[in-house]
C-alpha cells in the first residue's frame, strides 16, 4: 500500500522525464508471461523488434526498475531466427546509458545482436528474466494456522525505452485464493490466471502499476550460503559435499508457537507454508549418501534409486516455519566415468554447477572443485559468468596439496543448474603416489620388526655368545658342586659303616674318631661349597636366564632353566639337613652305647633313621636331576 504509492510516484517521474526519441527501434508486439507459482518469479517476454528508422542497429535495450534488477537470478535473451538453433545473445549491463542519468531508478541492459538489423527489418527476441526475493509476504507475520499471503508488483505495461505497438500480459498464479489484484482496463481473470491487455500504441517508458496479493503455500526456501565441494579422485570416485545454510523467507512465524500438536495432527491444513522436506535429485548411480549437520547424523531421510535418477528426500531436524533457519550437510559419491572424460590428452570434468535441490534460491553459491594432486594446466568453462580463483588444499596423504578451483556466484536459481567443464592435464603416474607412500610405510614397519627380532651378529662379543659362555661357566660350577656333594655322601657312608661297626663290635672310640674325621671333611667341603654357591647366586647368566624366561613367559622352560640354581641350593640345603640328621643319629647311638642303654637305641634312632633315609633319597633324586642338566 505505502510502497505502491512510492513506486507509482517514482514511475511517474520516469515517464515524465524520459524522452521518447532514443532510437529508431519500435516493438511491434510484446507478449509477457509472468509465472508466480513458486517463490522464484519467472518473466518470459517475446519481443518483436522492428527497425523503423534508417541505419543499422546492433543492440536492443532492455529496461528494468532498479528494485527488480537487484534481484536478478538470471537474465537471458535468445533469438529463434533459425528455428532449430536457439542462440543465446550476449547481455551487457550498461550502467552509463544516457537515459540513466535522467532516471536513476532504471537499470538498462543492452542485448548485442549477432546480426545487425537493417532498415525495416524485424526480428523476434525471447527474454527470460528470473527474479528472486520479489514476492513480499504480507502480512509479514502469521501464525502457524494462517495461510501465507504475498504481494507481487510490476507494471501492467511493458517498460521499455521503445514505443510498443501491441502488447499483452498474463500472470499465472498458484491454484489458490487471490486476495486482490489491480484492475485496469482490459483485465480478465481465468481461474488462476490474470490477463492484462491487449494494449496498443504505448509511449516509451509507459508505466501502470500492478499489484497482485495472493495466497501461496510454497515454502520460500533460501540457501543463504551453499558451499559445494567436488573432490575428484582418479581411483574412480567423485565425492560431492554440500553445506547448506537455509532460511525460510516466507511470512515469519509469530512468536506464539501453537505447538507440534496442530502441525502433527493436520500438517496439510495447518502450517502449510512450512518446509517439511527437501527433495534432492542426485545423478544416477550416486552412492554413499549421507545427511548430517554439525551435531551429527540426521536420521530423517529417504532414498529412492533407479537407473535414471537417485532421489533423496531429506527432512530438516524440525519443520521449518517462516523465518526459521537450519544448516545441514549432504554428501554423496558419484562414479568417475560418468563425469570425467578424456579429450586430446587432457581430461575434463563435466558436472552440474548448482544444488540438486528443487526450487531453492541460493544467495551465495561457492563451488570448490578439488582436483587430484599433480593436476596442471587448469581451465574452466562455464555457461554464465562466475567469479573464480584458485587455492590449494592438503588432504589425506598429500605432499604438496591438491589444486582447488573456487567458483562463486550470487543469486543462483534452478536455471543455473547447468553443466560446466574443467579441463586439466594429469599424469597417470601421479596416481601411484599414495599407494607408494602407504606401502613404503608398511615395509618400513615390517623392516623394523625384522630388525628387532633377528640377531645378525657373528662376532664373539655378541650377546648370545657371551651368554653361552656364562652358561658354560655355570654348568662347570654346578658340576663342581655335585662332586663335592658326592664326597659328602661318601663321608656319610663312612659314618654309617662306623656305626654299623659300633653295633657289631661296640668300639665306641673308633666310632668317635671316624666321626671326628668325618666332621673335618664335611667342614672342608662346606668351605669349598661356599664360594661356588656365591658364584652361582651372583652369576648373571643364571639369573638372567630366569629373568628372560620370566619375561618370555614360557613357564615350563623357566622351571627347567631355573633349576640349576634352585636345585643346587635345595641340594645343598638337603645335604646339610642330612648331615645334621646323621650327626644327631650318630650322637644318639654313641650316647646310648656309652650309657649302655641297649633297648632304647632302636626306639630313639628309629625316627632319625627314617628321616635320614628319606633325605638321602631326596638328595639322590636331586643329584640325578642336576645330572640331567
Amino acid at each position: 500500500m505505502g510502497f505502491w504509492l512510492r513506486f507509482n510516484l517514482l514511475v511517474f517521474t520516469i515517464a515524465i522525464l524520459s524522452t521518447p526519441v532514443l532510437s529508431d527501434l519500435i516493438l511491434s508486439k510484446v507478449d509477457r508471461r509472468i509465472d508466480l507459482t513458486s517463490q522464484i518469479v519467472r518473466i518470459t517476454s517475446t519481443l518483436k523488434v522492428e527497425n523503423a528508422g534508417s541505419g543499422l542497429v546492433s543492440e536492443v535495450l532492455l529496461a528494468f526498475p532498479e528494485l527488480q534488477a537487484k534481484k536478478f537470478g538470471i537474465l537471458m535473451a535468445t533469438t529463434n531466427e533459425e528455428k532449430a538453433k536457439r542462440k543465446v545473445l550476449e547481455l551487457v549491463s550498461l550502467l552509463k546509458l544516457p537515459i540513466q542519468k535522467e532516471c536513476p531508478a532504471l537499470t538498462v541492459y543492452s542485448v548485442s545482436l549477432s546480426k545487425a538489423l537493417g532498415e525495416g527489418d524485424t526480428m523476434s527476441l525471447d527474454v527470460l528474466a528470473v527474479f528472486t526475493h520479489t514476492l513480499k509476504p504480507f502480512p509479514e507475520k502469521i501464525t502457524q494456522a494462517d495461510i501465507q499471503l504475498v504481494l507481487f508488483q510490476d507494471s501492467a505495461y511493458y517498460l521499455s525505452p521503445y514505443a510498443v505497438k501491441f502488447q499483452s500480459l498474463s500472470i499465472k498464479l498458484p491454484d489458490a485464493r487471490i486476495e486482490s489484484y489491480t484492475k485496469i482496463e482490459n483485465t480478465k481473470i481465468h481461474g488462476s490466471e490474470i490477463k492484462y491487455g491487449p494494449y496498443e500504441n504505448l509511449h516509451p517508458f509507459s508505466y501502470s502499476p500492478l499489484v497482485v496479493h495472493f495466497e501461496i503455500n510454497q515454502p520460500f526456501a533460501v540457501a543463504q550460503e551453499l558451499v559445494r565441494e567436488i573432490e575428484v579422485s582418479h581411483w574412480g570416485n567423485v565425492q560431492v559435499t554440500e553445506h547448506y545454510n537455509i532460511v525460510h523467507e516466507g511470512a515469519k512465524s509469530e512468536v506464539n508457537f501453537l505447538g507440534q500438536l496442530e502441525y502433527q495432527a493436520r500438517p496439510h491444513i495447518r502450517g502449510s507454508s512450512a518446509i517439511r522436506h527437501f527433495v534432492a535429485k542426485l545423478p544416477p548411480r550416486a552412492h554413499s549418501i549421507y545427511y548430517r549437520d554439525e551435531i551429527g547424523n540426521v536420521s530423517t531421510s529417504h532414498l529412492w534409486a533407479d537407473s535414471k535418477k537417485t532421489e533423496l528426500l531429506i527432512e530438516p531436524r524440525y519443520p521449518m516455519f517462516g523465518g526459521w533457519r537450519t544448516a545441514f550437510i549432504i554428501g554423496y559419491s558419484l562414479p568417475l566415468q560418468d563425469f570425467l572424460f578424456e579429450l586430446e590428452g587432457k581430461r575434463f570434468l563435466n558436472i552440474s554447477f548448482s544444488s540438486p535441490i528443487n526450487d531453492l534460491v541460493i544467495d551465495n553459491l561457492v563451488v570448490k572443485v578439488v582436483l587430484p594432486e599433480g593436476s596442471r594446466d587448469l581451465s574452466v568453462s562455464t555457461p554464465f559468468p562466475v567469479k573464480q580463483r584458485q587455492e590449494s588444499k592438503i588432504s589425506h596423504l598429500d605432499v604438496v596439496g591438491r589444486p582447488v578451483i573456487v567458483l562463486e556466484k550470487a543469486d543462483v536459481v534452478p536455471e543455473h543448474n547447468q553443466y560446466f567443464q574443467i579441463h586439466y592435464s594429469f599424469n597417470k603416474l601421479s596416481m601411484l603416489r599414495e599407494p607408494f607412500l602407504i606401502s613404503g610405510f608398511f615395509f618400513l614397519f615390517v623392516a623394523c620388526i625384522v630388525y628387532v627380532h633377528v640377531d645378525l651378529s657373528i662376532s664373539k662379543s655378541s650377546a648370545s655368545y657371551l651368554a653361552k659362555l656364562q652358561w658354560d661357566e655355570v654348568r662347570a660350577t654346578i658340576q663342581q658342586v655335585e662332586s663335592i656333594i658326592n664326597q659328602c655322601l661318601a663321608t656319610h657312608e663312612k659314618i654309617e659303616a662306623s656305626l654299623r661297626d659300633l653295633s657289631r663290635i661296640g668300639d665306641v672310640q673308633a666310632c668317635k674318631t671316624t666321626r671326628k674325621t668325618a666332621d673335618g671333611l664335611l667342614k672342608e667341603h662346606s668351605k669349598e661349597l661356599k664360594p661356588l654357591l656365591a658364584f652361582l647366586q651372583s652369576s648373571p647368566a643364571a639369573a638372567n636366564i630366569c629373568l628372560s624366561l620370566n619375561s618370555i613367559a614360557e613357564k615350563m622352560v623357566k622351571l627347567y632353566m631355573r633349576h640349576p640354581n634352585i636345585m643346587v641350593e635345595e641340594l645343598v640345603a638337603k645335604e646339610r639337613e642330612l648331615q645334621e640328621r646323621w650327626m644327631a643319629k650318630h650322637s644318639i647311638i654313641v650316647d646310648c652305647y656309652e650309657k649302655k642303654l641297649g633297648r632304647e637305641i632302636e626306639n630313639r634312632v628309629a625316627p632319625q633313621q627314617q628321616k635320614v633315609v628319606a633325605l638321602r633319597q631326596e638328595v639322590e633324586d636331586l643329584l640325578e636331576y642336576i645330572d640331567e642338566i
Binding site: 494462517d146 551429527g296 592438503i394
Partner: protein, 831 residues
C-alpha cells in the same frame, strides 16, 4: 591365533592352556595386537548401531574444551574464561578442568593433522576412548604379568577388554575423563609393581610420570595416592620392608606431589587436603623404618636395643605433638579438610544428608546387587579364587593386588561410578584365578596321560607346594637382578631350549605336582570354558544393548520390528542454535547445561560442573516456584528461553518431572521458602489430581504439561502412568516457542515485561472512550492482513494514541511502519 600344532607342542610341556597363551605373549607385541582386536569389535556396536556421535553429558563439555584447545592453542586454553556458562558468573575452564583427556585428544588431533590426515576434532574425540581402552588392556596385561606371570596377564587383559563396566566408559563416543584415567590408573600400578620387583629408579621415575598423567586426567588419582601408601604400610607392618620398597615409594611421593601441583586444578591441594596426608605420613614412616634398618646394620644387637628404647620414647612424644597439631589444623576446617565427594566415600550417608547435588546424580548412588552382576558378571565369582591364588604364595606384588581389590570393592559399594575402578581389579584377579586353575587342571590331565604309561607314584601335597614356594622365592631373587641384560638372555634361552627339553625330565617334575583325577579335571575345564563363554556372551550383549546407546539418540522397536529413532534432543539443540540470538541465555536443569553449550552454542545458567550450589539452587527454586515468581527469577538472570525435558508423551523416564524433587531439595537447601513437603501428598510424589496445589502450580509442572491434554484428550502421562492433575491452564509469563517431535524437549520464551502503561488503562474509563475503542476494534477487524492475535495489541495501541498522543514516537518504534500508518488512518477517520 594358535594353530593346533603349536598348541599340541605346548601341551607336551607343563602348562597346557596357560602355555598356549603364554606362547603368544612371548612376543610382547602380540598381546598388543590381540587385545585391541577384542576392542575393535566393541567400538563398532556404537558406531554401527548409531553413528559416530559423542555420548551423554560430560563428554560434550570435553568435546567443547577440545575444540577450543585445537582452535586457540594451549596458552589460551590455560587462560580460558568461559562466559557461555554459569551466566552471569562464568567459569575459569583452564583452572577447573582436569586437562589430561583434552590434551591427549588435542595432541592426537595435532599429530594427525600435521601428517596431513585431516580428521575432524569430533572424530578424534569419539575414538579416543576405544584407543585408550586398548592401552588399558595392555597395561592390565603388564600388571598381571608382574604379579602372576604372562598367562594370567593375557587372561586378565582379555577379560578387561570385554568387561561391561569398562565398556560402558570406553565405547566410541564416551569421551570422558575415565576413558583415559583407567589406563593411567592401571599403568601407574604396573609401574609401581615393576619398581617394587626390580628396585629400579628408572621405573620409579616413570611411575611418577604415569601418576602425573593420572592426576591430569581424573580426580580419582586420590585412589592411587592412598592405595600405594596403604600397601607400603602393609609391607612395613608385615616385615617386608626392603630397599626396593623404598625406591618404589619415596620418589613417587616426592616427584608425584611436585608434578601433581603443576596441574592447575590440583595446585596446592596436593599438599593441603586430607586426601594426600596418608601418603606423607607413610613417607615419614618409611624413612624412619629405613633409618632403623640402617642403624641396625651398623650397631651391635645390644646397642641397637638401647637405641630403640631411647628413640621410641622420644619419638612418641614428638609424634604426639605433631599429630595434635595436625588434628587441630584439620579440625579447624569445616569439612575436616576432605572434599565432599571424598567424604561421601568414607561415609556413604554423608551426601544424602548434606549435599543433595552429589546425591542427586544417579552415578553417585550405591549400586544394587544386580548391577554387580551386570557390570562384572562372572568375574564376581572368580575374584575370591583369584584372592586365594594371590596368597599362594603371598609376594609384595600379589599383596598389592589383594589390597587393590579389597579397597575397590568397598568403594564400588559406595558409588556406582566407582564400579569402574573395581573392574580392572576384578579382571586381574579373575585372570589370575582362571590361569591358575587352567594350569592346575591341564597339568593333572597331562600327568594322567603320561601316568598311564609311566610311574604311578604320586608325590602330592607338600612336595608340590614346596617347589612352588621355592620357585617363587627364586623368581623374586631373579627379579632383583639387573634387567638390562634381559635381551641377550632371551636369545640364549632359545638356544638352550633344546638342551633342556628332554622327555625323561618331565616325569621328575610331574611327580611333584598336585594332581586331580582325570575326569574331574576335564569336567572342570569344560565348566571353566563354559563360564568364559557365558561371560563373552554377556559382555557382547551388554556392549550392544546396554552400553552403546549414546543417550542423546534413543531408539525403540516398533511392533513390526522396525527401528524408531527419537532424536528430539538434537532437534531442540539444533533449533536453539539456528533460531535464537547468539547471546540469548537458556535456563534448564543442570543436566542439560553441557549439551546446550556444546551443541546449541548458547549461554546457560548452570551446567554439569556443579561448582556453585547457590546458582543451581536458584534455578531449582525458579522451577519449583509459581509462574510469576519464576519469571522474576529468570528475568533477573537475563534468561530468555527455558528448556524442559518432558517424557510423558513417549514414556521417557529420566525427564525433568522425575528429577523435580531434587530441584525442590536443592532449591530448598538454599532458599528455605521452598519446602519439600509442600510438593508431596502424604509423603508421596504425585502429579495426578491428588497432587498438592503447590505442585500443580509450579513452573515445572506447567511447562511440562502445557497443552498436554490436547494430545489425547485426557492428559495421560506414560511415565507416571496416571492422568495429570491440572489439565487446562494458560501460561501468563511464558510462551511456547518450540516443542520437538515427540515432545521430549519443550522450549519456552519469557514474555517481555508488561507495558508500564497497562496500569493506567485499568483506571475506570469513560463510556465514550469505551465506545470509541469498540469502534476502533471493528475498524481494525475490517482491515485485511491483521490477524486476530494482533487485535489485543492493536486495540491497546489505538487507545494509547487517543489518550497520550505524545507517545507516538515510542509506538513508531514498536510497530512496523505499515501498521502505524494504518492506525494513523483510522485515527483520522475517527476524528
Amino acid at each position: 591365533m594358535a594353530d593346533p600344532e603349536n598348541a599340541k607342542e605346548a601341551t607336551t610341556l607343563r602348562y597346557a592352556f596357560g602355555n598356549v597363551l603364554s606362547f603368544h605373549s612371548s612376543l610382547d607385541r602380540s598381546s598388543r595386537f590381540l587385545d585391541p582386536s577384542f576392542l575393535c569389535l566393541l567400538i563398532d556396536f556404537q558406531v554401527i548401531k548409531y553413528e559416530s556421535v559423542i555420548h551423554e553429558f560430560d563428554p560434550y563439555f570435553n568435546y567443547r574444551v577440545t575444540q577450543f584447545l585445537t582452535k586457540n592453542g594451549i596458552y589460551d586454553f590455560w587462560n580460558w574464561f568461559d562466559d557461555r556458562t554459569w551466566y552471569p558468573l562464568g567459569r575459569v575452564i583452564g583452572g577447573t578442568v582436569y586437562p589430561g583427556l583434552t590434551l591427549t585428544a588435542g595432541t592426537i588431533w595435532w599429530i594427525l593433522n600435521s601428517l596431513n590426515i585431516p580428521l575432524s576434532v569430533e572424530t578424534v574425540c569419539v575414538f579416543t576412548a576405544p584407543i585408550f581402552s586398548a592401552f588399558a588392556s595392555w597395561a592390565t596385561y603388564l600388571l598381571t604379568k608382574e604379579v602372576k606371570g604372562a598367562g594370567a596377564g593375557l587372561t586378565a587383559a582379555a577379560l578387561l577388554a570385554m568387561v561391561p563396566s569398562y565398556i560402558s566408559r570406553s565405547v566410541a563416543g564416551s569421551y570422558d575423563n575415565e576413558a583415559v584415567a583407567i589406563f593411567a590408573l592401571i599403568f601407574t600400578f604396573y609401574l609401581y609393581i615393576k619398581t617394587l620387583n626390580t628396585g629400579s629408579l628408572f621405573y620409579a621415575t616413570l611411575n611418577a610420570l604415569a601418576y602425573f598423567y593420572m592426576v591430569c586426567s581424573w580426580g580419582g588419582y586420590t585412589f592411587i595416592i592412598n592405595l600405594i601408601p596403604m600397601h607400603v604400610l602393609l609391607c612395613i607392618v608385615t616385615g617386608r620392608y626392603s630397599s626396593r620398597l623404598y625406591i618404589a615409594y619415596a620418589p613417587l611421593v616426592v616427584l608425584g606431589t611436585l608434578l601433581a601441583a603443576l596441574v592447575p586444578v590440583v595446585g596446592f591441594n596436593a599438599v593441603m587436603t586430607s586426601e594426600h596426608f596418608a601418603s606423607f605420613l607413610v613417607f615419614i614412616i618409611i624413612h624412619v623404618v629405613a633409618f632403623v634398618y640402617y642403624i641396625k646394620g651398623i650397631l651391635s644387637p645390644k646397642m641397637f636395643k638401647v637405641a630403640v628404647t631411647l628413640v621410641v620414647s622420644v619419638g612418641l612424644v614428638v609424634c604426639c605433638a605433631v599429630m595434635a597439631i595436625l588434628i587441630a589444623l584439620v579440625a579447624s576446617s569445616p569439612t575436616k579438610g576432605w572434599s565432599g565427594r571424598s567424604l561421601s566415600l568414607l561415609d556413604p550417608t554423608y551426601a544424602s544428608k548434606y549435599i543433595p547435588i552429589i546425591a542427586s546424580v544417579s552415578e553417585h548412588q550405591p549400586p544394587t546387587w544386580p548391577s554387580y552382576f551386570m557390570d562384572i558378571n562372572v568375574l564376581a565369582f572368580l575374584v575370591p579364587a583369584g584372592i586365594i591364588a594371590c596368597f599362594l604364595p603371598l609376594s609384595d606384588a600379589s599383596s598389592f593386588v589383594v589390597l587393590y581389590i579389597v579397597t575397590s570393592v568397598y568403594f564400588s559399594g559406595v558409588m556406582v561410578r566407582l564400579m569402574l575402578v573395581l573392574a580392572p581389579a576384578a579382571c586381574v584377579m579373575s585372570g589370575i584365578a582362571l590361569s591358575e586353575s587352567f594350569s592346575v587342571f591341564t597339568r593333572s590331565i597331562k600327568f594322567q596321560l603320561h601316568g598311564l604309561s609311566g610311574s604311578s607314584q604320586v608325590d602330592s601335597g607338600d612336595a608340590s607346594s614346596s617347589t612352588v614356594v621355592a620357585q617363587n622365592d627364586a623368581g623374586k631373587a631373579e627379579k632383583t637382578e639387573d634387567t638390562a641384560k634381559e635381551r641377550p638372555s632371551k636369545k640364549s634361552k632359545k638356544k638352550e631350549k633344546g638342551i633342556v627339553d628332554k622327555p625323561s625330565l618331565k616325569a621328575k617334575i610331574e611327580r611333584r605336582l598336585l594332581v586331580l583325577p582325570f575326569e574331574a579335571s576335564i569336567f572342570a575345564i569344560l565348566l571353566l570354558v563354559l563360564l568364559g563363554a557365558f561371560y563373552v556372551v554377556h559382555c557382547v550383549w551388554a556392549a550392544a544393548e546396554a552400553y552403546s546407546a549414546p543417550s542423546i539418540v534413543l531408539t525403540s522397536y516398533s511392533h513390526d520390528g522396525g527401528l524408531h529413532v527419537f532424536d528430539d534432543f538434537r532437534e531442540a539443540y539444533a533449533w536453539l542454535s539456528h533460531n535464537t540470538e547468539v547471546d540469548d541465555k537458556v535456563a534448564s536443569w543442570w543436566d542439560y547445561g553441557y549439551q546446550t553449550t556444546a551443541m546449541a552454542n548458547r549461554t546457560v545458567i548452570v551446567d554439569n560442573n556443579t561448582w556453585n550450589n547457590t546458582h543451581i539452587a536458584t534455578v531449582g527454586t525458579a522451577m519449583s516456584s509459581p509462574e510469576k515468581a519464576a519469571w522474576e527469577i529468570f528475568n533477573s538472570l537475563d534468561v530468555k528461553y527455558v528448556l524442559v525435558v518432558f517424557g510423558g508423551l513417549v514414556g521417557y523416564p529420566s525427564d525433568d518431572i522425575n528429577k523435580f524433587l531434587w530441584m525442590v531439595r536443592i532449591g530448598g537447601g538454599v532458599f528455605p521458602h521452598i519446602k519439600e513437603p509442600d510438593y508431596l501428598r502424604d509423603g508421596q510424589y504425585r502429579i495426578d489430581s491428588q497432587a498438592t496445589p503447590t505442585m500443580l502450580n509450579c513452573l515445572m509442572y506447567k511447562l511440562s504439561y502445557y497443552r498436554f491434554v490436547e494430545t489425547d484428550g485426557r492428559g495421560f502421562d506414560r511415565v507416571r502412568q496416571t492422568e495429570i492433575g491440572k489439565k487446562n491452564f494458560k501460561l501468563t509469563h511464558f510462551e511456547e516457542v518450540f516443542t520437538t517431535h515427540h515432545w521430549m524437549v519443550r522450549i519456552y520464551k519469557l514474555k517481555p515485561p508488561r507495558n508500564r502503561i497497562r496500569g493506567k488503562t485499568k483506571k475506570p474509563r469513560s463510556k465514550k472512550a469505551q465506545q470509541l475503542e469498540q469502534k476502533e476494534v471493528q475498524l481494525l477487524r475490517g482491515i485485511r492482513g491483521i490477524r486476530p492475535m494482533k487485535l489485543e495489541n492493536a486495540k491497546c495501541t489505538v487507545m494509547l494514541i487517543l489518550h497520550l498522543p505524545r507517545l507516538w514516537l515510542h509506538f513508531e518504534q514498536e510497530l512496523n511502519s505499515e501498521f502505524a500508518r494504518m492506525n494513523n488512518r483510522c485515527l483520522l477517520i475517527l476524528r
